[in-house]
């Protein structure tokens, strides 16, 4: 599809710092090639702001190919924008029409405080993983890799969950700001594998405990998280989380 040039009207959340009030500010992005990614469009807007001596819009981004999980904003009300199975950096301007108005906001969740503009603090996710989201295998002395047989279907299912990029869109989409899909994906990945079995019960109890301590909400099974997940991680991971938690409870781990 040959590229063309469009103009879009942006309404962007500007907030100078963590504990300061923010507001929506209007910008016009002119001469935007439809081959540009959404973030490249924001780069162009920022170039203009800098030339005018104004503060550029702060947003996180790194790999710009949909795998690092750094980027993410709520575009026209949808985390990562209108494309299913794609991150903000993978969204291209060909998805928009000339003259369209686009609202751009940060993830909104108590546990993800806004640091500036579209940049939020997602360190709560690291603390959830640090609460048992690992397998306690010391470095060195591991047995031969092929001595652990894992059926292909199990390995593939574990990989489906392990594909989570920790972007936080699931939390941003949820009306309760729940982190069940994120947490459930790691619990599922590790619970499916024989290597993860010994710590299975303690892991789910600790991770869920940390998730709640961080202030993430409860899950009410509406599935917004699944709908916006750029890696299409299914809500069945939450069912698995609940099942693992119940199993741990029956065994007296809680």
């Amino acid at each position: 599809m040959p590229a063309k040039t469009i103009t879009v009207n942006l309404k962007v959340w500007r907030q100078p710092a963590k504990d300061q009030p923010g507001r929506m500010v209007d910008y016009v992005a002119k001469d935007i090639s439809t081959d540009m990614s959404f973030l490249e469009m924001l780069d162009v807007v920022n170039e203009d702001l800098i030339r005018k001596g104004e503060d550029a819009i702060a947003f996180d981004s790194d790999c710009r190919e949909g795998i690092c999980g750094a980027c993410g904003c709520v575009i026209n009300g949808i985390p990562h924008g209108p494309d299913a199975g794609a991150t903000t950096c993978q969204l291209h301007m060909r998805r928009f029409t000339d003259g369209q108005t686009i609202t751009v906001e940060p993830w909104r969740a108590k546990s993800f405080p806004v640091l500036k503009d579209l940049t939020v603090d997602r360190s709560a996710f690291d603390r959830i993983i640090a609460s048992g989201g690992y397998i306690s295998a010391g470095i060195g002395g591991a047995q031969d890799a092929n001595s652990i047989l894992i059926p292909r279907s199990i390995a593939e299912e574990a990989m489906d969950s392990a594909a989570c990029i920790g972007c936080g869109a699931c939390v941003a989409a949820c009306k309760n700001a729940a982190a069940h899909l994120f947490t459930g994906a790691k619990i599922t990945h590790l619970a499916l594998l024989p290597q993860g079995a010994p710590e299975r019960a303690l892991r789910v109890v600790r991770m869920v405990g940390q998730m709640e301590a961080e202030g993430f909400g409860a899950c009410s099974n509406e599935g917004e998280c699944e709908a916006v997940c750029p890696k299409l991680i299914p809500i069945s991971n939450i069912a698995k989380l609940v099942r693992e938690y119940t199993r741990a409870w029956w065994r007296g781990t809680t």
Partner: protein
């Protein structure tokens, strides 16, 4: 200064064992007395923090992004090599060693490469133990695929997301040490200087990227795991925040920089579509297992690919290199694509791309098999180009991807500054002039999980380390230097943005210091870089303030360092009057266009000493000795 690689004696297969035994140890009870600074949380940094934390050292781990899980190792797609010989197809530690030395065009240190091949086996075991979901066969055993430069299958993979899965494995092992209280995380911190006291690396100065505060951190050893310098070319497959700053500032403090001109141009990237582009996206080399590379036989043929009949297609890699075919190493494949495009056979609107075609594989294996192998890559391609590679061939072109050069280190991964260790892509050590596919992940984890913990312990046990606080004069001086540079950037208040300067620098580097280099071009590049650097300090525009989150200010500091580093890269390329691996000098080629090495004069590591910005650095040479593999003209025909 004489460069002593500190290579252990004895037969090559016993060198690492010997070094491990020679090394001094630190008693477990004493390890808590040592504080170790690690900068970077990619495979090398995270795995080193996991290993050292587990042994009981106190580790301070710094990362530039909001979370250690996002480091650029995550973008590696295709896989990780290991000499497991699970396929029974002739692999061995010696063969992986041989392939890597040959693939590096005989510019790597044999002993390092052999150790890497030995450790490759342990890495796979370690990763499986920590739950990395590698691809499996129906019987439950691990699967393998092939990569360029090898005639067997030794690459382990997790779909097209191997880097992600390995990084998350190392990240989880590292967080386990955070959980245990052995590792302290410092996210959103950028290292701005290395602090050297009495000739030893004793700390760093960082900028807190949220508050803008400069912070001082003291330790008994510093490990730089900060990756490569690909974005000196502006457009590359590297991430937006990948940069040379930490390595460059360490270089300015006395660490030698080795072989900066050895840069890798990856043959299969999505082509450039316009000036707005902020980065290029790699399409994994693993695609060359099933994809066939071709261009039309007729010059400037504008027919759509499906209308070009088989006999009018030129599968030029299969034609030129029948024994390796589409799986020749990266440098060879990249040059071959450039050659076809330069001759007018390139395709696409710009003529700067070639086809990577899956039709034959889809017909032979079925679309479901191809989907299982590469679906995430095909999806990624579709997002960017709006074309469906299941139906039309991909269009690809070479792009900057990896940098083999880096800070000089000895066999112990220690730089020329005692106490400063450099791991992973940030050092120069294992890949010579060209890295083979699926070897970067291997090196990052070998350095971090299995090497640094032994060699850092040996250093700590043997070094005489005085008590140093962050009030020491060296800390104050380093912090003042970092502050002065920030002030300088903010003071200019010019008219051109940092990105404009970066893009201009990238054009110079790609045009003159890219895939084909000449003496006159390199001389011109050096002049242009100097002029651009002067312009930068006169006319750069940075808005916002220092005492707040300000990504543009961070970016300005990094581009300022690239402006200095680029000159060293070009100088290194100018001094190396030969072609080898990723360094191709047009004056030095065989009649059929292959790289012509000059082992009589250039079989050495070129390590540069900083003498000031814009002044001639001093070259130090570490001679390369080949006792196992006899250097020969590399042939993949």
């Amino acid at each position: 200064m004489t460069l002593d690689g500190k290579i252990p004696g004895g037969p090559i297969s016993e060198k690492w064992e010997r070094r491990k035994f020679e090394n001094k140890l630190v008693n477990p009870a004493n390890r808590r007395k040592y504080e170790i600074i690690i900068v970077g949380t990619g495979l090398a940094g995270s795995s080193a923090a996991a290993a050292l934390g587990e042994q009981g050292y106190r580790v301070k781990l710094f990362c530039i992004l909001d979370s250690p899980r996002r480091a650029h190792s995550i973008s590696a797609q295709g896989g990780i090599n290991a000499a497991k010989n699970y396929r029974n197809d002739g692999d061995s530690i010696y063969r992986l060693f041989y392939d890597t030395v040959k693939g590096g065009d005989y510019r790597a240190r044999e002993a390092n490469v052999y150790r890497l091949a030995q450790l490759s086996v342990d890495i796979i075991d370690q990763c499986v133990a920590t739950g990395v979901p590698f691809a499996r066969e129906y019987g439950g055993l691990l699967d393998n695929r092939s990569f360029g430069g090898a005639q067997l299958s030794r690459t382990f993979y997790a779909r097209g997301q191997t880097g992600q899965q390995l990084l998350l494995g190392a990240y989880q092992s590292m967080l386990r040490q955070v959980d245990a209280g052995n590792v302290t995380l410092f996210p959103r911190r950028e290292m701005l200087d290395l602090v050297v006291v009495d000739g030893q690396a004793r700390g760093i100065v960082t900028r807190n990227l949220i508050t803008g505060d400069l912070e001082r951190h003291e330790g008994q050893a510093v490990l730089l795991c900060t990756g490569g310098y690909g974005p000196v070319y502006y457009l590359s497959t590297n991430a937006i925040n990948s940069n040379v700053t930490a390595a460059w500032r360490a270089h300015k403090r006395g660490a030698l920089f080795a072989n900066p001109c050895f840069t890798q141009i990856h043959p299969t990237c999505i082509p450039v579509s316009g000036d707005h582009q902020s980065k290029l996206t790699l399409m994994s080399e693993s695609l060359r297992n099933d994809g066939r590379v071709w261009v039309p036989r007729k010059k400037e043929d504008t027919r759509p690919p499906e209308q070009i009949p088989e006999e009018e297609r030129d599968y030029y890699l299969e034609r030129r290199y029948p024994s390796f075919g589409n799986l020749v190493p990266r440098d060879v494949a990249s040059r071959a694509a450039k050659e076809r495009a330069d001759e007018g056979f390139g395709v696409g609107e710009t003529g700067l791309s070639v086809y990577l075609d899956f039709k034959e594989a889809i017909d032979r294996l079925g679309v479901e098999t191809i989907r299982a192998r590469y679906d995430n890559l095909f999806e990624m391609y579709k997002h960017i180009t709006a074309e469906d590679p299941y139906k039309v061939p991909m269009r690809i072109y070479p792009a900057i991807h990896y940098t083999m050069g880096g800070l000089w280190v000895d066999y112990n991964l220690q730089s020329t500054i005692p106490g400063l260790f450099v791991l992973g892509e940030a050092n120069f050590s294992d890949h010579g002039a060209n890295r083979l596919g699926a070897s970067a992940l291997m090196q990052g984890l070998a350095d971090g999980y299995f090497i640094a913990s032994y060699t850092v312990a040996n250093y700590l046990a043997g070094a005489s380390l005085s008590k140093v606080s962050t009030d020491h004069g060296a800390f104050k001086e380093a912090a003042a230097t970092a502050q002065a540079r920030i002030d300088q950037v903010l003071r200019v208040k010019g008219t051109r943005t940092v990105r404009q300067f970066h893009r201009d620098l990238g054009h110079i580097m790609w045009d003159y210091v890219g895939m084909a280099r000449t003496e006159s071009g390199l001389n011109a590049a050096i002049q242009k870089i100097r002029a651009l650097r002067d312009d930068f300090w006169k006319d750069v525009a940075v808005s916002g303030e220092q005492s707040n989150l300000n990504p543009m200010l961070d970016y300005a500091g990094r581009v300022a360092d690239y402006m200095e580093f680029a000159e060293l890269l070009a100088l290194d390329a100018l001094h190396r009057n030969e072609s080898c691996g990723g360094h191709f000098r047009e004056e030095y080629q065989t009649p059929d266009g292959e790289a012509r090495r000059d082992d009589d004069h250039y079989s050495y590591v070129g390590a540069w000493e900083f003498t000031g910005v814009g002044t001639q650095p001093v070259l130090h040479k570490e001679a390369l000795e080949f006792q196992e593999v006899r250097p020969s003209q590399r042939s993949y025909k």
